[in-house]
Amino acid sequence: MKPSLVGALCAVAVMGAAFAQTPRKTVAKPAPQSPPVAEAKDAATLEFEKFRAEMEDSNPAELFEMKGAEQWKTKRGPKNVALAESCDLGQGVGKVEGAYVRMPRYFADADAVMDAERRIVWCMVEKQGFKFDDIAKRPFANETFTPDITNLVTYVAGKSRNMKIDVPLKEPKVREAYEIGKEIAAYRAGPYDFSCNTCHGTDGKRIRMQNLPNLSTAKGAMSGVQGWPGYRMTGGVMLTHQWRMGDCFRQQRFPQPKYASDAIAYLLTYMIGNANGQVYKGPGIKR
């Protein structure tokens, strides 16, 4: 049986109406004058890499790690409990060494697969008595505000510096999260028909000058993991991996993923799981 043309046109009309926009004049950017050379991009990238290497002696992320370390051991929240005495990140209560590179993982007490940020939020809610909605209202940093959760994640991530990624993919619940995450990465929808894989499913592609890692490979996945949480020099803001996932969906023209949700945990399981065996260098610096 063949699909009907009438049906197709019907859907066309519906989709067209749903995404109709008012046309206006566009703003032009001044164009550089030199002829096109593919190596130009790499020159820009190299320059940044050099700058980042110079910055590494005084990595701004360390300031956030220090704040997070303080908050980790301080009694806080309505229950006046420290995370250090109550929060199990998968390595035992209060143990942070190596915890970041072994998440996402399945936590039986929450009956959920959780990435590091989601797990710390869970501890803040369940152990310290903070309200989830209060945390989720402003979960990410901006130019004037850094939430506690950002400091805490950066601290925990720093305690996995130079360790190998080791997401427990053999655990059945984690494996299922990985497989669902893989499907989410392939799911095309929205006005532009984009999926994660449109940009991140093939080697050697870029948008403008920005190199696009292929998240289905170990090396590509690792470059999507490396440097997060990251201090973004544009605006001077400390941002987490959860934030980065949301920003990808923004550019995919999707609606916004809910904070600390299954969707992000599963996608991170797919991505970080693909990076298993690669060395994580700790919180970094981003353009």
Binding site: I180, Y187, R188, K205, R208
Partner: protein, 204 residues
Amino acid sequence: MTKKIFLAAAMAASYLIALPAAADGDYRAKAIAVLKKDFQPRGQASLDRLAEDGLQAVCNRTGNKPPEYMVKQLEADQLADVKYPADGKLMGDWKSGEKLAQSGRGFTWSDDPGLPVGGNCYNCHQISPKETSFGTIGPTLYQFLKLRGTQPDIQKYVYSKIYNSKAYNACSDMPRFGHIGALKEQQIKDLVALLLDPESPVNK
């Protein structure tokens, strides 16, 4: 909005009847359920964007490689959707086209829906040699006239391709700019000129 989702879903179903072994994998079904549960509308990005239209559903279920007979039907349907200018003129002004090609804005939750939407062209394509910051997801379009200009009905092809890329490659990575109402007739004409006008820097 519910009605739109329903129609899009019905549309997807009408294609998928024609697709053998189209049963959703377990993980895919779970992924869709998770997407529906875990997203929230923001700005202009409403939740109906999570629903697949018929073409997206086929591409998603076949790893972007539908069987040949379906490809033909899908492409024919997408081509039938293209609306050509009433005056029959397909070439506009390449200078306006270049400006439009530069802009990557539009449709994100942080974009003001009242502001103009860009062509997003340089995000993925090399075009004018004067712009060295170009993406590589799509093929280079530099020297387009020289490389493709002898093809019959080339203007009509370029107009249709920008209006609905899927008319020529059912699961193309490229958005359907006319189909979704992102670019209007004159804007598409200007982009056609950017690629085909002998005076355009693309062809110098």
